[in-house]
């Protein structure tokens, strides 16, 4: 089923897609989202809204998506299975579709151990792959998970995440295949700093023919400083930041490190654009949304196609 998703249309057209993300505020101020939105306007085909990322309480993804939608964006609703059981999940899927959300990214979510409420009880009634199955079933079969009919199917373009850098490496492409089999139509990957390893994963993906069944958007993140690089390398689970990236940042004066980080990011996108099977980029400029435009411009991704 085709949806109203702008991202789907851009990909359908064969254009190299650009997405980015907005982290919602730790408060009820809608202007935080609007300000971030302004920075991304005209720069991306769709913008993700994270769902209490790193298990820290923030404004809900659905509410934030709606604020972006009012600004003319085609938001991507991120949903984690950590905080909701299948009743709440299906309810939120219907609500999102009713409010005109066209895209959903299905995730299991960071464990609450990392967040601001480590005392919380997690749910994990279903996992991220089963969430993909749930959205697909509701959309394509018009049925709830209990096989009962629903009245109006939610038309959502279904996405999932992939981390090519987690262990065990040899099952990473196979796990992607499971997500595709479950119904994922687009994939946004973990931040790529180790391009050689990503290329290795991508080759496997292409060999399996998965790139023809799912649109892979390569995740990139500009590093602001040596400190951020080290933090990502050592403290963020499932992140692979090679020493040469850190060394390159160290090689320039402190005040020029962020510019170097942007440069590295642009060069990465240029290399990713040439890789077989990569259909777009997902630019995750963490609390640095003002740089997404510069990166997209530098990588020759602007203007965005009209669809």
């Amino acid at each position: 089923m085709k949806t109203e998703s702008r991202l789907e249309k851009v990909l359908e057209k064969g254009a190299f897609a650009v997405t980015s993300e907005c982290g919602p505020p730790r408060g009820a101020d809608p202007d935080v989202i609007r300000e971030k939105g302004k920075l991304l306007k005209g720069v991306v085909d769709a913008a993700n809204i994270t769902d209490c990322q790193t298990s820290v309480v923030r404004m809900s993804s659905l509410a934030s998506c709606l604020i972006l939608k009012e600004m003319g964006f085609d938001p991507i609703l991120q949903m984690v299975t950590r905080d909701r059981n299948r009743i709440a999940i299906q309810s939120d899927i219907l609500g999102a579709a009713a409010l005109g959300i066209n895209n959903m990214l299905c995730l299991s979510g960071d464990h609450q151990r990392f967040g601001d409420h480590p005392q919380a009880k997690n749910v994990y009634d279903i996992d991220s792959i089963q969430l993909i199955m749930a959205v697909k079933k509701m959309r394509d079969e018009g049925k709830f998970l209990n096989d009962q009919e629903l009245t109006k199917p939610p038309r959502l373009f279904i996405g999932a995440a992939a981390n090519p850098f987690a262990d065990p490496f040899e099952i990473r492409a196979l796990r992607l295949a499971k997500k595709v089999a479950a119904g994922a139509q687009f994939i946004q990957t973990q931040c790529i700093f180790n391009l050689d390893r990503f290329a290795e994963w991508m080759r496997e993906v292409v060999d399996m023919g998965l790139h023809e069944r799912v649109a892979i958007l390569a995740g990139v993140t500009p590093l602001k400083s040596v400190g951020m690089g080290k933090y990502m390398k050592n403290l963020v689970p499932g992140m692979d930041v090679p020493d040469e990236v850190i060394e390159r940042l160290k090689g320039v004066e402190k005040e020029k490190q962020s510019a170097e980080g942007i440069k590295i990011c642009i060069e990465s996108i240029q290399r990713l654009k040439e890789m077989e099977g990569v259909r777009g980029v997902h630019i995750m400029a963490i609390e640095w949304e003002e740089k997404v435009k510069e990166i997209a411009e530098g990588a020759g991704l602007l203007p965005r196609p009209k669809v």
């Binding site: 950590r82 299948r86 299991s108 979510g109 960071d110 464990h111 151990r113 990392f114 997690n122 994990y124 009634d125 279903i126 996992d127 991220s128 792959i129 089963q130 199955m133 749930a134 998970l145 995440a161 992939a162 981390n163 850098f165 987690a166 262990d167 065990p168 099952i171 196979l174 796990r175 295949a177 499971k178 089999a181 479950a182 973990q190 689970p237 499932g238």
Partner: protein, 223 residues
């Protein structure tokens, strides 16, 4: 077995503060094996509590008993003869034992001396580890004999997530990635291709605690 550990002694002292005459009841089953609530632990705890109360200038009388099982009415009834002479029963059995005491001795407070932790086994002397969450519908034949509900921190059925690193879980470097274990084991058994590529369907949790308090009735054994 059910694995439990002693509550901090200060907590137990605070719990029994209003009583001067208590029964301290151990159990000879699981909690004895995991060295938390057997005969020896009853003696040690009784003497620690008496010392603490003596220091506080208010002595306490403690009747020490260790039952064959605290999860069996027959044995729990074993203290019927003298239970009424005491103000409280401090049980260092698992949570089942404490509740059986409460159910059988309705007018006497039953107090937990342990924190009941999990169903598991011993790894080495002094180390126990969780293995089962009692979901009521075992799938171990599909996952190489390793339980994803228990061993994966997110209980993923289609793992591993993106946080698996060098065989360890993102939650804690001390925790092994359950899915790495499952994958390794499936490979050893020659079942990897067949099992791992299959999509694992949604779990029916109604046989788990989510279906309400569980009960097993065996008509063939009922009298």
């Amino acid at each position: 077995m059910i694995v439990a550990e002693a509550k901090p002694i200060e907590d137990v002292i605070a719990m029994i503060d209003r009583y001067d005459k208590i029964i301290l009841a151990g159990c000879k089953e699981c909690v004895a094996v995991c060295a938390a609530g057997g005969e020896k632990e009853v003696q040690l705890l009784a003497s620690a509590l008496k010392t603490a109360r003596k220091t506080a200038g208010r002595e306490i009388e403690i009747r020490e008993v260790t039952l064959e099982r605290q999860c069996d009415p027959e044995y729990v009834e074993g203290i019927r003869g003298f239970a009424g002479d005491y103000q409280a029963i401090l049980s260092i059995a698992c949570g089942v034992g404490v509740q059986y005491m409460a159910e059988h001795y309705k007018t006497i407070p039953a107090l937990p001396g342990l924190n009941t932790s999990f169903m598991g086994g011993s790894i080495e002397q002094g180390v126990w580890s969780e293995r089962c969450q009692g979901c009521g519908q075992c799938i171990l034949h599909l996952t190489g004999g390793i339980c994803p509900i228990t061993r994966c921190s997110k209980s993923l059925f289609n793992g591993p997530c993106g946080g698996s690193s060098d065989g360890k879980c993102e939650v804690d470097k001390e925790i092994e990635c359950g899915w790495q274990l499952i994958i390794d084991r499936l490979k050893t058994l020659g079942e990897f291709e067949a099992r791992f590529t299959e999509l694992f369907p949604l779990k029916d949790w109604s046989t788990s605690r989510d279906g309400g308090q569980r009960k097993i009735v065996r008509e063939d054994l009922k009298q």
